[in-house]
């Protein structure tokens, strides 16, 4: 099973299910995963102002379906805290469950959504070509939960091979997923702090030179390099050779200089290039700690 963490919600899904659709909104959105043949799971969320009576919501929904006659074979089901129904749709079985989830969202997200509490209504729809796999269904439902916030208000995101810690109060402004490229960009409302996490593949096709040279080419034009630490072997990071650049970004007419830190390395396990860059008034000394590629590379450590 593979762990995904998106918008503070964690879920474990089979290894071959990949996220093909996603929403960036904190208030309401959905993510959908597919195996190689069809969509298999859809997780949707809606921010709410406190716990809901899920039992009543589920029974009302089922009664409405029966009244409409749209899903006459829908059978009520309950798995742990999840209330829902199971039914057959042509040749496939469908499980539809929902529950209230107390989220550990950032304060900024809550304020933006006008919420007093930190919770959301989560709905999970699973599609089963052929027979419904009850054990897998229970395992997936049991894995859904709120991802605890990290030290210093850091929030974890784990998707597309990236396992990243983004600062609280930053919005995800960009999520690019292409063959051999996954990029998550977070920025605050004023644009003073930005954090970028990248995972790049197919290196023989485009990486001509060392990782350090590549990292220097990624520097914004206004960065004055202060520390360029090449080939710093981090033994505690599973033998990953991390290239680090730290510098100062020149200020503008109405803004002072800001700090810049970036790190890049090749993961020997999957052969991909990982890159993290942070710029803002205060930047942690080790930008590498915000991104992990495998078990050998501790997140935040």
């Amino acid at each position: 099973m593979q762990l995904w963490v998106w918008r503070g919600i964690r879920i474990e899904l089979p290894e071959d299910w990949e996220m093909l659709q996603f929403s960036r909104s904190a208030q309401a959105g959905r993510c959908a995963w597919a195996d190689r043949y069809q969509f298999r799971a859809e997780l949707s969320w809606q921010a709410v102002n406190g716990p809901l009576d899920m039992k009543r919501l589920a029974s009302d929904y089922l009664a409405k379906l029966r009244l409409d006659g749209t899903m006459p074979d829908a059978a009520p089901a309950r798995v742990g805290d999840w209330h829902g129904l199971r039914r057959h749709d042509g040749e496939q079985a469908v499980s539809r469950f929902s529950r209230y989830l107390a989220l550990v969202t950032g304060k900024e997200d809550r304020l933006k959504a006008g919420l007093r509490t930190e919770g959301c209504l989560v709905e999970l729809v699973l599609l089963w070509p052929g027979e419904l796999e009850t054990a897998l269904e229970a395992s997936i439902l049991g894995s859904v939960g709120a991802e605890p916030g990290g030290a210093g208000g850091l929030r974890r995101w784990r998707a597309f091979g990236l396992d990243a810690l983004a600062s609280d109060g930053l919005d995800m402004v960009e999520c690019v997923v292409q063959p051999a490229l996954a990029r998550l960009v977070f920025r605050d409302a004023r644009g003073t702090r930005s954090e970028t996490f990248e995972r790049l593949g197919m290196l023989p096709q485009w990486l001509h030179g060392s990782v350090g040279e590549w990292l220097r080419r990624q520097l914004p034009h206004d960065v004055e390099v202060q520390v360029a630490q090449a080939s710093c072997l981090c033994r505690q990071a599973g033998g990953h050779e991390v290239e680090v650049v730290e510098g100062l970004r020149r200020g503008g007419l109405f803004r002072g200089p800001t700090r810049y830190a970036a790190a890049a390395w090749l993961c020997p396990r999957d052969g991909r290039l990982y890159h993290v860059s942070i710029s803002g008034p205060s930047v942690a000394a080790n930008a590498r700690q915000g991104l992990s590629c495998c078990e050998g590379m501790t997140l935040g450590g």
Partner: protein, 111 residues
Amino acid sequence: MLSAQPVPNAAAETVREASGELAVAVRRKRPRWHVPPLSWVVPLKPTRTVRLDPLGAQVWALCDGERTVEAIVDAFAVEHGLSFHEARVAVTGYLSQLVQRGALAVAMKEG
């Protein structure tokens, strides 16, 4: 779609160019209007050439008329260390270009 078999156009000719690109030349059908005296003043190339970068050339080489799209995606994914969906996006992109330009046809299984 994944069970479809891309079949190269039998009339296509491939040439490896000096730049490393693979050129696939496909004979084009002469348009009905291309007759004398118009054909004397409007020259038309008898072939249409598709130039493939090294990745496109790999996909072309995998299209042997036997492999399915799924098998091609799997082979491409293994070759480049990509996930199935990453490789699927890249491979189907190349395949659709090749089909549009007449270099490939796609055979679908019945049923």
